[in-house]
Assembly symmetry: C2
Homo-oligomer: 224 residues x 2
Amino acid sequence: MSQANAVVLLSGGLDSATCLALARHHGYQCHTVAFDYGQRHRVELDAAARVADHLGAASHRVLSLGLGGIGGSALTDDNIDVPEEQGEGIPATYVPARNTVFLSLALGLAEVVDASVIYIGVNAVDYSGYPDCRPEFMDAFRHLAAVATRAGVEGRGPTIEAPLLELPKWAIIRQGADLGLDYGWTVSCYQADEAGRACGRCDSCRFRRQGFAEAGVPDPTPYQ
Amino acid sequence: MSQANAVVLLSGGLDSATCLALARHHGYQCHTVAFDYGQRHRVELDAAARVADHLGAASHRVLSLGLGGIGGSALTDDNIDVPEEQGEGIPATYVPARNTVFLSLALGLAEVVDASVIYIGVNAVDYSGYPDCRPEFMDAFRHLAAVATRAGVEGRGPTIEAPLLELPKWAIIRQGADLGLDYGWTVSCYQADEAGRACGRCDSCRFRRQGFAEAGVPDPTPYQ
């Protein structure tokens, strides 16, 4: 029996890995895509490939993307430091229009692999400071997807699923753990070392560590 | 006196060069961006740099973009031929979600250079088969831009200008010629040779040649 296709955005972090586990659980044949966008945390790309492999993705792609040529973020610009604690407002780790760009590329891929759904692991709770992690952004992109592509014009444009949007970190972790996902395959730290070990101090590490504690799930993260 | 900033998508072709001439004429300081997306017609990138230079762009960027990893188009996939004549429906040269991806990256750049407007040279007349060259696509992207970025959240998200959307090719050429634009700097052909000389036979060449004839403007295009 043939399965429906999904495109799953996979960063190598905890959220997107959970998304892939959910998409597989929902019965989709999953085409995963990671982006090499000059990020400092390149060990994420290794993690993404590992997660795709362990969770049985039908294909995995790494698309290169010159976001460093745009600048404006601590994640792609060497002149901007990653802060250890988040201040007020939109964080320095915000990459301008990142989710718009990622979803756009996923939309192109969805057309090519004939996917009826795109999964993205955005989360409005922990990343409330990121404009492109909000429900109104997701709705705007859903509308765009319906008019932007050949598939959309033919009435079979992909839906956009953001199943983690309203979940706190602990609930995401609980869901993945229930599906048998080993979070030791994932890397969330913005400043992980080459072996993928986390700093334990950045925002991302603190949200993650706290999430495992609140979920009552043992934290498998290797720390430096 | 400081000028307002614009981001201008520049492919090196006739339409986007006209867009830049218009944006300059409207008084904007223009930050141009071209994409290296594995297109066959790479001489376009040289043309884009030439046009940016001649028209006094404040900055010019070439962003790399792994669209070849997605495939699905005669322009990025070596296994699909560029047809000499357009058939029914959406052409083989359609790159899935291309304008969505290009505008997304322009949106990120607009945030970084504090641009109040993005110019894109899409045209619904000659490219009626491309879903992402239609007015409804432009409207959907305008709405997305208003919610997707920090600038948008702060109420100063960029507007999207598509000044050529409803113009026939001859009217575009007439406008550019009136502004002193030398179309000899531009390359439209999908199969130009390394010197930038056009094939004269592909859809893009035929639309262009016909446009010059109808505009009553001498065609400066070097043909093979």
